[in-house]
Symmetry: C2
Subunit: 348 residues, 2 copies
């Protein structure tokens, strides 16, 4: 998904005006600006001895997709920045940043968004603890709402995100490498935070529980679509655009949907060779594997899975009716769909 704060529209994006992603994301500007201020104010809540370390992690601002979901789900007007939504967005973003700090330790990642990762800069031991401190502070901010609802939702979602990551780690070692397992992993590790962002965003705007749940279902489907898209882009993305080399999931032995489908469709000996490449992190055949994905309709079927999830997301919004939140969330889904469509052209 484009970075709402910095991405420029791709030359292949279509009509301007109402469908212009740049104009669309510009509506978030005052909300994201207030979020940045809020996050920086939070640094003062950390004990002085670790403030600089926490600042390093919070400065590494991600794409702010989850905050965008919070704001759109609880939309109250372009110029109305709700403090409750800023606080919720900060809570969820801090949880997300904490998971990134821990992910980078496991992946041995040295760079994220052009800067050394926390584990690279401070060492893995400090990075584990720093991630923990971010988690804890996120929940502390959640506990400043008048009721326990945000704490309850965010802590449960956090546990589920970690569960998804554990399952992904375990999948590296055992035989749980089928599409059902993959679906469950991404439902937990990615779709869960999208879900809670939308559900609590709508609830904080005063929508009754059944409408907040509808927004939550939108988030879950969008998050699923987003992760499948991300896994497909790992083979069919524009290296310059996504800022990393292709095939990192093959290299790190992650059984994503494109790789699982390719394994299923290759002749046995060839599938075994692919498994061996994954287990040993050998990307010498990456161009061949990508061509096979196109030839064996892996690309087409994964794309269909993305579109199906986006369709389910749009459908889930029906109970909300014709309100501005619905329009904004639909537009966000359309942006993802357009972005996925650009992968299509890359394969042909």
């Amino acid at each position: 998904m484009p970075d709402p704060t910095t991405d420029t529209p791709s030359p292949s994006s279509n009509s301007p005006g109402k469908d212009d992603p740049l104009a669309f994301f510009a509506r978030l500007k005052p909300h994201l600006a207030r979020l940045d201020t809020f996050l920086h104010e939070q640094l003062l809540e950390f004990e002085p001895e670790v403030r600089e370390l926490a600042a390093y992690c919070i400065d590494a601002s991600g794409k702010r997709i989850r905050p965008a979901l919070v704001f759109f789900s609880g939309w109250q007007g372009d110029d109305t920045v709700s403090e409750d939504h800023v606080r919720l967005a900060a809570v969820i973003e801090m949880v997300h940043l904490a998971t990134l700090v821990h992910d980078d330790i496991m992946d041995g990642a040295t760079l994220r968004r052009g800067r050394p990762t926390a584990t690279e800069k401070f060492g893995p031991d400090t990075a584990v603890l720093l991630g923990d401190a971010l988690f804890a502070h996120a929940l502390h901010v959640a506990a400043q709402f008048p009721t326990t609802a945000v704490c309850r939702g965010v802590s449960r979602s956090t546990r589920r995100v970690c569960t998804g990551e554990i399952m992904q780690t375990l999948a590296g070692e055992n035989t749980h490498r089928d599409t059902a397992y993959y679906r469950r992993v991404i439902e937990l590790k990615t779709a869960e935070l999208f879900h809670i962002s939308c559900q609590l965003g709508a609830a904080l705007a005063g929508h009754p529980a059944e409408l907040a749940d509808a927004a939550g279902r939108f988030g879950r489907h969008l998050g699923t679509a987003y992760q499948i898209y991300d896994d497909l882009a790992d083979f069919f993305g524009d290296e310059n655009r996504i800022g990393k080399t292709l095939g990192t999931d093959l290299a790190s032995n992650k059984a994503t949907l494109p790789l699982l489908l390719l394994q299923q469709r290759l002749p046995t000996a060839e599938a075994d060779a692919l498994r061996h490449e994954m287990a040993t992190g050998n990307t010498a055949n990456i161009r061949l594997r990508i061509r096979q994905m196109a030839d064996l309709r892996v690309f087409a079927d994964v794309m269909a899975a993305i579109e199906e999830e986006i369709h389910s997301a749009e459908t889930a919004l029906a109970p909300l009716g014709d309100i501005e939140s619905t329009r904004l969330l639909r537009q966000l889904a359309a942006v993802l769909k357009a972005q996925a469509a650009r992968l299509r052209s890359a394969s042909s």
Copy 2:
């Protein structure tokens, strides 16, 4: 501190009856039994895919010192097991267990309480995520109280515990190795959870804020005494009793109070040699270092620091007046004092 559930009284402990630690800790039996049931019920809240892993960590039941503080601070009678206190004890114990899971990764520990650590059994990547899931679930249980008070207190304390651990990790690499820094580290990494156990334990029993704060101050001083005791026992403990070899803090380059004072009092060349032993994890001279600690009054001064903290803990209880909680917490402090006194005899 003796394990309230399994320790037998040491032969050197004095009068039986009212001061018998075994009879004293027996009063916790129904409370700790209910806590165990509650903790095992929590496993059903974890997603099925990680339930067994979570069970492994929760089964590794520690000494239950923090639960004991929760129950004593909010005492409502030997046969009255308060569900609120069971829930609070479970929250704090899960946070504590999560920190142990992460500590063991950093220390490269393979055994804890006679069983392989989580990092040894499941690998460090899974252990990081499993600790995260335990943290998250602890906060989820905290969010089931009717108000946000427990979430607020526990999340803040958790952040402070992590901060103390970060400072300890950083101290391994830099020059912040003086007694003021040490005091700050143990105030955060150990005394903080003792503090919140007592403060929230008293608050949940209906004590007004100023009395809950008094109980919290008791906890902070007792936790400080406990950590200093633990650091002294690393050199003067009974290896059979504490179940580990002496000098592990020297071997792992932890600048504890006994080591800091010894560095200060040794002639420069000898102090440099000690620093080198710490930096390289060389324990060949451990018997010499222990003898020097006794000769240079390091042992005596560290013992005095423990006794001073225990005295401050007892004094902090004054506002609570003559209630059963006061008597129980005083007795707990006395148990620690007696245990420290047994170290004294080991040095002479």
